[in-house]
Symmetry: C2
């Protein structure tokens, strides 16, 4: 690839002049400017960002670690993050941890080695201690770790909304399927709120936890099958993701339960897929795009030393469709 020296030589000017054109500094005549641009086009010159980064001590890269981009929630979140990163001239370095702590640790180190401007963590499988000592511009999604800035939506309110809806519809025995409560995620608040509401309304419920916190079709299916074996009289389900909700629907169909007549189902996230399935899923909408935008913004602020909010909890919304 051509370097700035090649351009200078070919254009018959000095390297400094080319740099001046490139960075719009100092005096440059229109004639020279044109000549330099022409030469760059001719040589197919692209300034080496690696050299620039080295000098500027800024890579214009944002690192993103998620369990898995092929999970709809993280796919849509990644989409948003990439969009806003691009808007401010940053590129996205994407890593799928697959919820493997070894991989996650390795990825964090990789990112530091590459001097990314900041890391957005959508996966958290390490010990709190490790994150604490990271000492790097960072934003956490859906998890509170000491004083690290985080972005989340109002999980507690989400749980309440789900409970209120199912209670309002007259459900008498409700199942709640959530992620692994051992993991210190903010999404656990959904469960807390939900259970509290049901308890105070005096409605019977059972809570099931999944093993891992990300998609495993087999596990979901077994869990749900067992749920209905043990509690055939369930008439309401609050699932912690739209994907899980769709598996519940699958099982109901199999068991001949009509939705929403015999059983009402509410999901979480409002990923696109929630409206692809039939009947379309009633769900609690997380403002995925806003979460992405905010995460990028928080990285930017940390980089530039601007003040920023540590706790960023965005509102959720009930989206009623056809499963309730």
């Amino acid at each position: 690839m051509a370097t700035i020296h090649d351009v200078a030589e070919r254009a018959g000017v000095s390297v400094t002049t080319v740099s001046r054109v490139l960075n719009n500094r100092g005096y440059i005549s229109e004639k020279t400017r044109r000549k330099v641009y022409d030469t760059m086009a001719e040589l197919n010159y692209q300034p080496n960002e690696i050299a620039r980064s080295l000098l500027r001590k800024q890579s214009n890269l944002i690192g993103l670690i998620v369990p898995n981009v092929s999970h709809p929630f993280f796919g849509e979140l990644t989409d948003a993050i990439e969009y806003y990163a691009y808007q401010q001239g940053c590129k996205l370095l994407l890593c799928n941890s697959q919820l493997d702590p070894l991989k996650e640790r390795d990825y964090i180190e990789m990112m530091k080695r590459h001097r990314v401007d900041g890391i957005i963590m959508g996966s958290h499988t390490l010990e709190v201690e490790e994150y604490r000592n990271l000492n790097y511009p960072i934003v956490t999604i859906d998890r509170r770790i000491d004083s690290l800035p985080y972005v989340a939506s109002d999980n507690y309110r989400g749980g309440e909304l789900a409970a209120e809806l199912l209670i309002g519809k007259g459900c008498r025995k409700i199942a709640h399927i959530c992620g692994n409560l051992q993991l210190d995620m903010l999404s656990n608040l959904r469960t807390a709120a939900f259970e509290e509401k049901l308890r105070s309304a005096g409605i019977e419920f059972v809570t099931l936890q999944t093993e891992m916190n990300v998609f495993d079709q087999q596990e979901y299916e077994q869990l749900i099958a067992k749920l209905f074996d043990n509690h055939p009289d369930i008439d309401g389900v609050f699932a912690t993701s739209d994907i899980i909700a769709s598996f519940v629907m699958k099982r109901c169909r199999m068991l001949g339960k009509a939705i929403p007549q015999d059983i009402r189902i509410i999901g979480y996230d409002d990923v696109n897929a929630a409206s692809w399935v039939t009947p379309a899923i009633t769900t609690i909408k997380q403002p995925i795009e806003d979460m992405g935008r905010l995460a990028v913004e928080l990285i930017r602020r940390q980089m530039e030393g601007e003040p920023f909010e540590r706790e960023n909890v965005l509102p959720v919304k009930l989206v009623e469709r056809s499963t309730t």
Copy 2:
């Protein structure tokens, strides 16, 4: 951040020695090695990959441009690509073109400026001319452009399989929904094969094209609604993605058509979502993971100057589920 100089000074050795430890070259005593490692840990030293890249003229970055990671097919493909890139020590630079030619062009230039080791193009909205002059290690997904290496699955065979299945099930009037045939994509072969089979079997069919080639829920719904308005007697549908298939199912449910009794539906891709919906979608499986693996491998071979195959067409498979 600590530099190699800081480590050297603190450990009481020369920079060269630290570099030797880091890169495992030359003679190093166990004692020194340990001391250096300890010091690195103490200072939280991470070698600056930017400086390394500059010297080595290798960034260990692979660029990926897709229309949109939140589309299930591209999400799963991205997942696979990231996985294999990591396996060979590369990181993934992810870009969503949103099928906007301006963005796509801009992204390609960004990637060149960042000196990525190669570009995997899952989005192709530019003129053939532009790709031709790219002059960079590149792999194209699902599109043939001159002599650029590409990865695809056997679209023609996929179209045949779909046709054979629907014919075999006794469908008499079949709709085919495909992407925009103006775009020179290899997926157009599905349509070609499908129509040919139907024609030679003497079966009536209608072909509908979507405007864009990526997800637009509104457009799909309108298109499908119109389809059934105009052709209420359709008893088979071949959709070019599982997502489109699920919208067809939605409409059928609304119209009171039983699946698969009144109408048989076959999708394409076999994304995870195909088995989330009820009934689970019969589909043509693209070997997404293999495609990802191969794409990364082709970049590697180009980088290292190893010989490689230009045309990489992987086999597809019929996965029969409950919509046929």
